[in-house]
C-alpha cells in the first residue's frame, strides 16, 4: 500500500470482507461436547446419592412417613403428573411475572440511582433498610389487601427479587472505566452514544449476576407467597401434603419445584450467554 493519508478513507470491498458474512456458530459440536462434559459428573454423583438413599431406606425399613425411597417418590411423580403440572404452571406464572416486575423495577431504579446523586442519597439508604423488613411479615399484609389472588404472590416475588438487581446495576454502572468514557469523548461521542456503547455493555455482567440471584430468590418468594394464602400452586400443594402427612407426595412436590428453580436459573444463564457472549467466553478461561 502506498500513497497519502487519504488512502485510509478509501473504502474497498475485498476478500476479507466476505469473512464477515459467515456468522460464528457458537453452538457447534465442540460446544456440545464441552457441555456434556460439564453435566456428566454432577449427574453421576446425583445417581450415586439416590442409589445410597434407596438402599438406606430398604435396609433400615424406615417409615415412609419419615423418609420415602426415591423410587416411591418417582411413582408419586408419575401418578400425580397432571396435578403437579397444573400447579407448577400456576407457580411458574407467579415467578415469571414477579421476576419480570422485580427485574424491571430493579434495573430502572439502578439506572436512576447511578444518574442522580440526590436520588441516590435520599433513596438508597431506604432501599437497604427495606431489605431489613422481613418479607414474612409483609406477605400476610399483602394477602389482607389483595386476597387469594395472583397479586400478593407476584408482589412477594418482586419484592424479594428486585434488590439484588438494583445493587448490581448500580455497582455495574458506577464501575465503568473513566478512561473508556474519556476515549469516547475524544472521538466526539455524545452522552447517548457513550451510554449505549460503553456504560450499558460494561454494566451487563453485573446486571446478570443480580438477575441470577433474583431468580433463585423468586422461587422462594413464590412458594412463600402461596404458603401465606392461596388455593393452588406448588407451595399450596406442599402445605396440603404436609397436613395430610403425605410425605412421599410432599417430596415429589419439592422435586418438581427444585427442578423448576434449576431450569429457571439456567434459563437466565442461557440468556446471559446470548446477550453477552464475550463475558461468558472470558470466564471459560481466556478464550
Amino acid at each position: 500500500m502506498s500513497g497519502t493519508e487519504r488512502e485510509i478513507a478509501v473504502p474497498v470491498a475485498n476478500g476479507a470482507a466476505t469473512a464477515l458474512a459467515t456468522d460464528d456458530r457458537r453452538f457447534t459440536r465442540r460446544t456440545l461436547r464441552r457441555w456434556v462434559k460439564t453435566i456428566t459428573p454432577p449427574l453421576l454423583f446425583a445417581v450415586f446419592v439416590l442409589f445410597l438413599w434407596e438402599v438406606f431406606v430398604w435396609v433400615t425399613a424406615i417409615n415412609a412417613l419419615l423418609l420415602p425411597a426415591p423410587t416411591q417418590i418417582a411413582i408419586s411423580l408419575a401418578e400425580n403428573a397432571g396435578l403437579f403440572a397444573r400447579n407448577a404452571v400456576i407457580t411458574l406464572g407467579e415467578i415469571l411475572i414477579g421476576f419480570a416486575l422485580g427485574a424491571f423495577v430493579g434495573i430502572a431504579l439502578g439506572i436512576l440511582l447511578s444518574y442522580s446523586r440526590i436520588f441516590e442519597r435520599s433513596v438508597y439508604p431506604w432501599l437497604v433498610a427495606s431489605q431489613m423488613v422481613p418479607i414474612v411479615a409483609v406477605a400476610p399484609i399483602l394477602v389482607v389487601w389483595f386476597g387469594f389472588t395472583l397479586v400478593p404472590k407476584v408482589l412477594v416475588v418482586a419484592l424479594i427479587s428486585f434488590f439484588p438487581v438494583v445493587v448490581n446495576t448500580v455497582d455495574g454502572l458506577q464501575s465503568v472505566d473513566r478512561q473508556m468514557i474519556n476515549l469516547m469523548r475524544t472521538l466526539g461521542a455524545s452522552q447517548v452514544k457513550i451510554m449505549r456503547a460503553v456504560r450499558i455493555p460494561w454494566a451487563m455482567p453485573f446486571v446478570f449476576s443480580g438477575l441470577k440471584i433474583a431468580m433463585a430468590l423468586a422461587v422462594v418468594g413464590a412458594v412463600f407467597g402461596e404458603w401465606v394464602g392461596s388455593n393452588a400452586g406448588l407451595g399450596y400443594l406442599m402445605l396440603a401434603f404436609n397436613n395430610q402427612l403425605a410425605t412421599t407426595d410432599l417430596f415429589a412436590a419439592v422435586i418438581v419445584l427444585s427442578a423448576m428453580g434449576i431450569a429457571l436459573f439456567f434459563l437466565v444463564g442461557g440468556v446471559e450467554r446470548l446477550v453477552i457472549p464475550w463475558h461468558h467466553d472470558k470466564r471459560q478461561g481466556g478464550r
Binding site: M1, T4, I8, A9, P11, A17, M180, L183, L187, G286
Partner: protein, 262 residues
C-alpha cells in the same frame, strides 16, 4: 512557526486538591508542524499526561492557549478534533477486534458495513489479519496496541496524540513496533505528538524532541533531530544519534534537579 498544525502557547495547568495547589504545567510552548513527528520526553510527573488531556479536550488549561490550525481552541471544542491514544489500549472486551477498530468511524456516523470495509483494508498493514473476529483478550500486548493504534488512525484525525503507546511492551517487541510505526507514518503522514520517557525511542522516531522538567512541567530543551529519513534502526548506534542522546540525557538529569533520583 507560522504554519503550526497544533500549538500550545504559555500553557499552564493548576490543580487544587484538598487545599493543596499543584502546578502540573507552567508556561509550556510547543508546536507541531503539519505532518511532523514530535516527541515529548520527561520524567514521570512532568505533566505529559496533563498536556495530552488538554490537547485532546478532556481538560481545560488554567492559563495559555491551544491553537488548532492557527485558531484558538480549548476544552470541549477540541473533543472529536484530535486523535488520542491513551496509555492503556482501552479495547472494549465486548467488541471484536474489528469492531473495536471502527469505533471512531462509528461515532462519526459511518455505517458499520462501510466502516468494517475500511478497517479490513488496513488489517494487514497493522499486522492484525486473522484476528478480525477475535476478542481483545485473545491478543498479545503488542497486537492490542496495534489494534488501538488502528482505532486511532481510522478515526481519521490529522493530529494524533500517542501517550507512551509502547511503554508496557518488552524491549524487543518495542523496537519492532517503533520501526513499524515509522513505516506507517512515512506512508500516511499524520501529524503525531508522541509521549515517552525513553530517549532512544524519542530520538529514533521524531523530527523534534521536547524535553520537559519535573513538576511544574515546563519545556527545558528543544532538540531538532537532523537524521535523514527513512531511518534504519541501526541509526541509534550512529555518532550524531549518540551525541543527541547525551545532550538529552544530560538535560533530563539536570531537570531532575533538587529531587532525588527516581
Amino acid at each position: 512557526m507560522g504554519s503550526a498544525k497544533l500549538e500550545a502557547r504559555g500553557l499552564g495547568k493548576r490543580f487544587k486538591t484538598r487545599g493543596q495547589v499543584v502546578d502540573a504545567l507552567s508556561g509550556v510552548d510547543l508546536a507541531l508542524g503539519d505532518r511532523e513527528f514530535v516527541s515529548v520526553i520527561g520524567p514521570s510527573g512532568c505533566g505529559k499526561s496533563t498536556l495530552f488531556n488538554i490537547f485532546a479536550g478532556l481538560e481545560t488549561p488554567t492559563s495559555g492557549d491551544v491553537l488548532l490550525d492557527g485558531r484558538p481552541t480549548v476544552g470541549a471544542d477540541l473533543l472529536g478534533r484530535v486523535g488520542y491514544m491513551p496509555q492503556q489500549d482501552l479495547l472494549m472486551p465486548w467488541r471484536t477486534i474489528l469492531d473495536n477498530t471502527i469505533l471512531g468511524l462509528e461515532v462519526g456516523g459511518v455505517s458499520k458495513k462501510e466502516a468494517r470495509e475500511r478497517a479490513l483494508e488496513l488489517f494487514p498493514l497493522f499486522g492484525l489479519s486473522g484476528f478480525e473476529k477475535r476478542y481483545p483478550d485473545d491478543l498479545s500486548g503488542g497486537m492490542r496496541q496495534r489494534a488501538a493504534l488502528l482505532r486511532t488512525f481510522l478515526a481519521g484525525r490529522e493530529v494524533i496524540l500517542l501517550d507512551e503507546p509502547f511503554g508496557a511492551l518488552d524491549s524487543l517487541t518495542r523496537a519492532a513496533m517503533q520501526q513499524w510505526l515509522l513505516g506507517i507514518w512515512e506512508e500516511h503522514r499524520k501529524t503525531i505528538l508522541f509521549v515517552t520517557h525513553d530517549v532512544d525511542e524519542a530520538l529514533y522516531l521524531s523530527d523534534r524532541v521536547y524535553a520537559m522538567s519535573k513538576r511544574p512541567g515546563r519545556v527545558t530543551q528543544i532538540l531538532d533531530v537532523a537524521i535523514p529519513r527513512p531511518r534504519a534502526y541501526d541509526v541509534i548506534t550512529s555518532q550524531p544519534f549518540i551525541e543527541m542522546k547525551q545532550i538529552l540525557l544530560e538535560q533530563l538529569r539536570l531537570s531532575h534537579g533538587s529531587g532525588k533520583a527516581a
